[in-house]
């Protein structure tokens, strides 16, 4: 196996911070179905490969790649690129920022349901 590169985007770029910190507003970044699926799947696994996510979320290569990249750019997931022999392999894991964003999103959804029931 070739030497592995470091996890990419462990620390989110400055531009991504507002999305993660905007607590009262719905986090549009993970509100999208496929991105929510990626984050949810990674929340219960230490890491998953691109192929695992593709199979799990029944997504196409292109679609998954675009959405995973958006999460990566925001610092919600980290990607480790490596080679298995000559085959490239991408392994994703949820960052602390991504986990907090999912927790905030869950709290937001639960609050919405509570508010509707009480109202």
């Amino acid at each position: 196996m070739a030497k592995q590169s470091a996890w990419r985007r462990e620390n989110p770029p400055r531009s991504a911070q507002p999305a993660a910190n905007a607590a009262p507003e719905l986090d549009r970044l993970i509100h999208e179905r496929l991105r929510l699926g990626i984050v949810s799947a990674l929340a219960v696994n230490e890491s998953l490969t691109f192929s695992d996510l593709k199979r799990l979320l029944k997504s196409s290569d292109g679609n998954l790649s675009v959405h995973a990249r958006k999460l990566e750019d925001a610092g919600y997931v980290a990607c480790l690129k490596s080679f298995h022999g000559r085959t490239p392999r991408s392994e994703y894991r949820l960052t602390a920022v991504g986990r907090r964003a999912l927790e905030r999103y869950l709290a937001h959804m639960e609050a919405l349901i509570r508010a509707t029931r009480e109202g």
Binding site: L36, A41, V44, N45, L56, L106, I113, A115, R117
Partner: protein, 204 residues
């Protein structure tokens, strides 16, 4: 001539906000349940089962009678079952998923029928004093169970099942003397090797 339809029909009322929220929460839960299939199979449990099986193979090889050899392997089977259930429960707890959530149920349903078949065949063959085919039968049926149970899991799980089936075929077609050592290679070696892969790549 075409008919006029209102843009929003009474049959399709707007979805309430809380229904959207419920739908999203359901989707998150289902995705996590589906993804936890990746973690339902315990890697460290496999390593522990492999270690006890290797020890059992050494002990079984020294037994003077086939009946005592059978007792050693049956004891190992019970011990492995306890380790497996304990490790699955521990892993499920670590990711906050119930042991018998959908992935757990799927795994149990896939594995149980071949295990019941193996137990019945063992009983029948023991009554007929035919112990030679047992290693092959155990390995093949366990392999079938793992392939079936691992259908909805990561590829490494059914791959492990296929390796068990291959060893089972060797045990059935090869000399009787290979039986104990093929059991060691399967329940000891394969559990340990695949357990390490699962533990490293799929969170324990």
């Amino acid at each position: 001539m075409g008919t006029l339809k209102p843009i929003r029909t009474p049959e399709n009322p707007p979805v309430a906000m809380h229904d959207h929220a419920m739908d999203h929460l359901r989707f998150i839960r289902e995705t996590m349940e589906g993804a936890s299939a990746f973690t339902a199979v315990p890697g460290f449990g496999g390593i522990a089962m492999g270690s006890t099986a290797l020890f059992a193979a050494l002990v079984a090889a020294q037994q003077p009678t086939p009946s005592r050899w059978l007792v050693v392997w049956l004891s190992e089977g019970v011990l492995a079952l306890i380790i497996g259930i304990w490790a699955m429960a521990r892993k499920a707890k670590s990711v906050n998923v119930p042991l018998f959530s959908r992935p757990g149920r799927k795994f149990a349903l896939g594995l149980t029928p071949p295990m019941v078949a193996a137990a019945l065949l063992t009983l029948t063959l023991y009554q007929d004093n035919l112990l030679a085919p047992l290693p092959g039968i155990w390995l093949i049926l366990y392999g079938v169970g793992v392939v079936a149970a691992g259908t909805f899991s990561v590829r490494v799980v059914p791959a492990m099942g296929l390796c068990f089936m291959a060893l089972g075929a060797c045990a059935l077609l090869g000399p009787e003397a290979w039986g104990n050592w093929l059991l060691a290679a399967g329940f000891g070696g394969l559990h340990t090797v695949f357990g390490m892969v699962i533990a490293r790549r799929y969170g324990g």
